[in-house]
Structures are given as structure tokens and as C-alpha cells.
């Protein structure tokens, strides 16, 4: 690793810690990291959508035409239509003509909703309905092998899934009061939902902590890089690595001390 790369990874560690500082409170470092990432990511998506979206989907299709014929002689001149519609969106820059932008918007929403109807009906309703129509495993009703209630493929579990799903559907009824037997079934439904939500919350905790471990590993790798970089071990490395490392550590430690002092001062004033 050369020195400039090391400086950039130091910057990466800096913004990592700046973002983590949000856990304590909103502060200038977090504000810096936040505003930086908003700008940089917006620019990044301009580039990505340009190269991966506009160029292959529009420009490449029109490029064999001539500009002075407004590309009408290209092999796929009909791609001028979406281009014009997209440019109509820009009428929003003007107050007077901004209503024109409703046309492409209407097209956009019309196409999207039209696509959604059969697709969602098929994937979410028809296929799920078909999946509920299972043949229940009566021979292994209480679990495979011996009596095993926690077997997820047993007939009992299948029955629970079926009843749970239907009662949860009943919970979602809008136009019927949840009273009497109907209310009872709806209650069963919301219990099923809540147990499921709790379980999936608990299940996610592990994956989220792994994310933090990954960040720790990055910081550790940076530290090792700096501390290993003695000039004798590797001629490419200079003392600069260590200087940058310790300066950075001193900076972070200094800021923490500053915050602590402030915190205790404000407490003594209050009491």
C-alpha cells in the first residue's frame, strides 16, 4: 500500500467514526459525513444512470442516425418518443407550462399500474392460494418418527399454518366489526401475526451485529497496516504511516475528551 492510498483509507476510517458518532448525538462530524455522502452519492448515480441507463437504452439505439435530421433516420427512430416524453418532464422548470409534465407522469403511472395488476394477482394471490391447498400429512400428524410437535413438516404444523393464515386474513377485514366469533378468529389472526413478527425480529439481530463486526474489521485492518509499516520491514513504507496513524488517534481521543469534559461541566451547572 502506498502512502496516498493509506491517506485515503485513513479518510475512510475518519468518515466511519464520524458516522458512528451519530449514536452519541448529532455533531459537526456527522453533519460533514452526511452532507458529503449525499453529494457524492447523487453524483455517483448521475454517472451510473448515464452510462448504464441512458447510453445503452437511448443513445446507442439512435446513434446510427444524424443529428441534423434529429435522428429520424436511425434504425429505431421510435425511441425518440420516450426521449421527448422525458424532456417534457423538464417543463417543470417553468411555472407556466409545468402542467405538461403531467402527461409523461400519467403514462408512467398508467403503465406501472397496468403491469402491476395481473402480476401481483398472480404472484401474491393465485400462487399463495394454490400453495394453501396442500394435502395434509395425516400419517405423520404429530411429527415424523416419534411424537415430535416441533416438526415443521408434520400434519399438525400444516394445519396450524392453514388456520393461522386464514384467521390472519380475517383480521384484515375492514367492513365487519371484530365482535363475536368473528372477533375471536380475528384475535387468533393477530396473535399469529405478532408471534411471526417477534420471531423474524429476533432472527434479524444476528445479521445486524455482523454488520458492525465488519466495520470493526475494516478499522482493525487499517490499524495493522499503519503499525506494521516500519521503514525497515518494507522500503516502500515511510514514517508517514505512523505519523498519520498517531495524529489521527490523538485527534479522535482529543475529541472524546472534549465531549466528556463538556458533558460533566453541563451536569455540574445543572445541579
Amino acid at each position: 500500500m502506498d502512502f496516498s492510498t493509506f491517506l485515503w483509507t485513513t479518510f475512510a476510517v475518519f468518515v466511519t467514526l464520524a458516522t458512528f458518532s451519530f449514536l452519541y448525538k448529532d455533531n459537526p462530524f456527522y453533519k460533514f459525513a452526511e452532507h458529503l455522502v449525499v453529494g457524492v452519492s447523487a453524483g455517483y448515480f448521475v454517472i451510473i444512470l448515464w452510462y448504464n441507463g441512458l447510453v445503452p437504452n437511448l443513445f446507442d439505439r439512435l446513434k446510427d442516425g444524424d443529428w441534423y435530421l434529429i435522428w429520424l433516420n436511425s434504425s429505431k427512430p421510435w425511441y425518440l418518443i420516450p426521449a421527448i416524453l422525458g424532456i417534457l418532464m423538464w417543463t417543470r422548470f417553468s411555472k407556466k407550462y409545468s402542467w405538461v409534465s403531467r402527461w409523461p407522469m400519467a403514462l408512467y403511472i398508467g403503465i406501472a399500474t397496468g403491469v402491476a395488476i395481473p402480476l401481483e394477482m398472480s404472484n401474491r394471490v393465485n400462487k399463495q392460494l394454490f400453495a394453501t391447498m396442500t394435502s395434509i400429512d395425516w400419517t405423520n400428524f404429530f411429527g415424523h418418527g416419534h411424537f415430535n410437535l416441533l416438526d415443521t413438516t408434520s400434519g399438525l404444523s400444516q394445519v396450524i399454518i392453514f388456520v393461522g393464515a386464514l384467521s390472519a386474513l380475517i383480521y384484515f377485514f375492514f367492513s365487519k366489526e371484530h365482535t363475536g366469533w368473528f372477533g375471536g378468529v380475528a384475535n387468533l389472526g393477530i396473535w399469529t401475526l405478532m408471534i411471526g413478527f417477534g420471531a423474524s425480529f429476533g432472527f434479524t439481530v444476528m445479521a445486524r451485529i455482523s454488520l458492525f463486526i465488519n466495520r470493526l474489521q475494516d478499522i482493525k485492518a487499517w490499524g495493522i497496516e499503519a503499525l506494521d509499516a516500519s521503514p525497515r520491514a518494507n522500503p516502500n513504507y515511510g514514517p508517514g504511516f505512523l505519523i498519520v496513524f498517531w495524529l489521527f488517534v490523538a485527534f479522535v481521543a482529543g475529541y472524546i475528551v472534549y465531549e466528556l469534559v463538556n458533558y460533566f461541566r453541563s451536569r455540574t451547572v445543572q445541579s
Binding site: F32, V37, V46, W50, N52, M105, L107, G198
Partner: protein, 271 residues
């Protein structure tokens, strides 16, 4: 009036109904129209990014102009946005970068002056003069220096080393740290909300606790806990999800139908 209100709704209806029934027609011609129309909304979406970037630019400049709280950070956003865009469109042609760093600096200075012109109308002439000078210098460098160049139709900018550094060492650390904050937020949310206030909250709490204890070796009957948590994930969770999926499917279809048939018009402006 019809141009502003009626035609957009007519467009939603026509294209929505067409796309709805297109799903059932596998023929080539219907497939062609489908792909073409999806390209439309894709291209409209990308071209609309100009509106988004303009909004980001205007809000940031406005903050600087009116000196709203934290206005200084808006410079960071704007610089990040433009520097990333410039990196993405430039790449070196030979082995060295030549005057590229000088170009980047003069270009950023020119931009800074431009922002000042917009934000501080009082001293517009001074900033405008400087900005023009820097811009001229940047343009001259861009024209005269042949070691690097602008690329718009080929994705060479994605290989630009500065573009990659900004992605790897600025954007990614902040984004993945933001994601990693979840490790902490999931803990505080669990602490705050998992109180056995009533039956529903208790079910949520107990299910989550069981799943979180599933690999705790200090616990008696730990193997059993693992089995129970598995059962919770595969039986009640599956039942609840199935009900939600079916409900959402019907909700989506109902909403989309209301939009296409013009019953729900709240998404489109009036006047």
C-alpha cells in the same frame, strides 16, 4: 382545461388497460410493445433525474443564500456532487494524468464562484469575474491537455482511479457504517418496545426472546430452544406472511384498479 386534467387521466386509463391485458398475450407483437413501453418509463425516469439534481442544487444554494442553520455543510454536498460527476466523465488517455489535478482544482473553484454568484447577489460582479476566469482556465486545460479527456458515450470514467477512490473510501464507508448503525438501533428498539404491556406485546416479546436465545450455550435445554425458534420461523411466521401477502396482493390490485378507472385521483395535481 382538458389538456391539463382530462388527457392525463385518459392516458392512465388507456395504457393501464393495455398493459393489464398484455400480460395474457404471449405473442411477439404484444411482447415487443411491452418491452418498448417499459423502456419508456425507464428513460422517462432517468431523464427526470435532472429535476432531482436541480432540486438538490437549488435547496443547497438556497440554504447558503439565506444562511439557514448548518448552511456551511451545503458546500460539502455541492462539491461532492460536482466532483463525482466530473470524475465519472473523465479518464486518462495515456499513462500519466498531466494537468488533471490542476483542472479539477480550477473547475471546483469556478463552481464555488458560481455558487457564490447565486448565493450572494450583492457581490455578484466580483465573484462572476473570478468564476469566469477560473472556468476559462479549466476549459483551456481541458482543450490543451491531451493526456486525459472527457468521455460521454463510453463508460471509461468508471475506471478513473479518483472515481473509484471516492466510491471505495468515501461513499462506501459512510453507507456501510449507516447500515451498521442498525446493530445498535435494533438493540435500543428492542429495549424500548419489548415491554409486556399487554397480550400482543407479550407475544411479540416472547417470540423474539426465544429466537434470540437459540444459540445460547449457557442455557439449559438450549437444543430445545433452537428447535422452538425454528418452528416459530417456519409455522406461525409463514402463516402470518401468507395472509399478509394475499392481503397486499388484493390491496395492490384494488388501488391500481382505482387509479386506472379514475376512481382515485389524489396522486395527480389539479389546477
Amino acid at each position: 382545461m382538458a389538456m391539463k386534467r382530462q388527457i392525463p387521466f385518459a392516458l392512465v386509463f388507456i395504457f393501464g388497460i393495455f398493459m393489464l391485458f398484455q400480460y395474457f398475450v404471449p405473442h411477439e407483437s404484444s411482447e415487443w410493445v411491452y418491452e418498448f413501453l417499459l423502456d419508456w418509463i425507464y428513460i422517462i425516469g432517468i431523464l427526470a433525474l435532472a429535476l432531482g439534481i436541480w432540486s438538490l442544487f437549488r435547496v443547497s444554494v438556497d440554504k447558503i443564500k439565506t444562511k439557514k442553520p448548518n448552511w456551511v455543510y451545503s458546500y460539502v454536498t455541492l462539491m461532492g456532487l460536482f466532483i463525482m460527476t466530473v470524475f465519472g466523465f473523465t479518464a486518462k488517455t495515456g499513462d500519466s494524468w498531466g494537468l488533471y489535478p490542476v483542472f479539477v482544482i480550477t473547475f471546483m473553484l469556478a463552481l464555488f464562484m458560481l455558487i457564490q454568484v447565486l448565493a450572494k447577489p450583492a457581490s455578484r460582479n466580483l465573484y462572476g469575474l473570478f468564476g469566469g476566469a477560473f472556468l476559462l482556465a479549466a476549459v483551456l486545460i481541458a482543450i490543451l491537455d491531451r493526456t486525459w479527456g472527457f468521455y460521454f458515450m463510453e463508460a471509461k470514467g468508471l475506471q478513473n482511479s479518483m472515481f473509484r477512490i471516492f466510491f471505495d473510501d468515501v461513499m462506501m464507508p459512510i453507507l456501510s457504517t449507516m447500515f451498521a448503525l442498525l446493530a445498535f438501533f435494533i438493540a435500543s428498539a428492542a429495549y424500548r418496545a419489548f415491554r409486556a404491556r399487554n397480550l400482543l406485546a407479550s407475544l411479540l416479546l416472547i417470540a423474539a426472546l426465544i429466537v434470540m436465545l437459540r444459540f445460547n450455550p449457557y442455557l439449559p435445554y438450549a437444543a430445545y430452544v433452537a428447535k422452538v425458534s425454528n418452528w416459530l420461523m417456519n409455522v406461525p411466521n409463514l402463516a402470518g406472511q401468507r395472509a399478509i401477502v394475499i392481503g397486499i396482493g388484493l390491496g395492490i390490485v384494488a388501488t391500481a384498479l382505482k387509479v386506472i378507472l379514475g376512481i382515485e385521483r389524489g396522486y395527480m395535481g389539479k389546477g
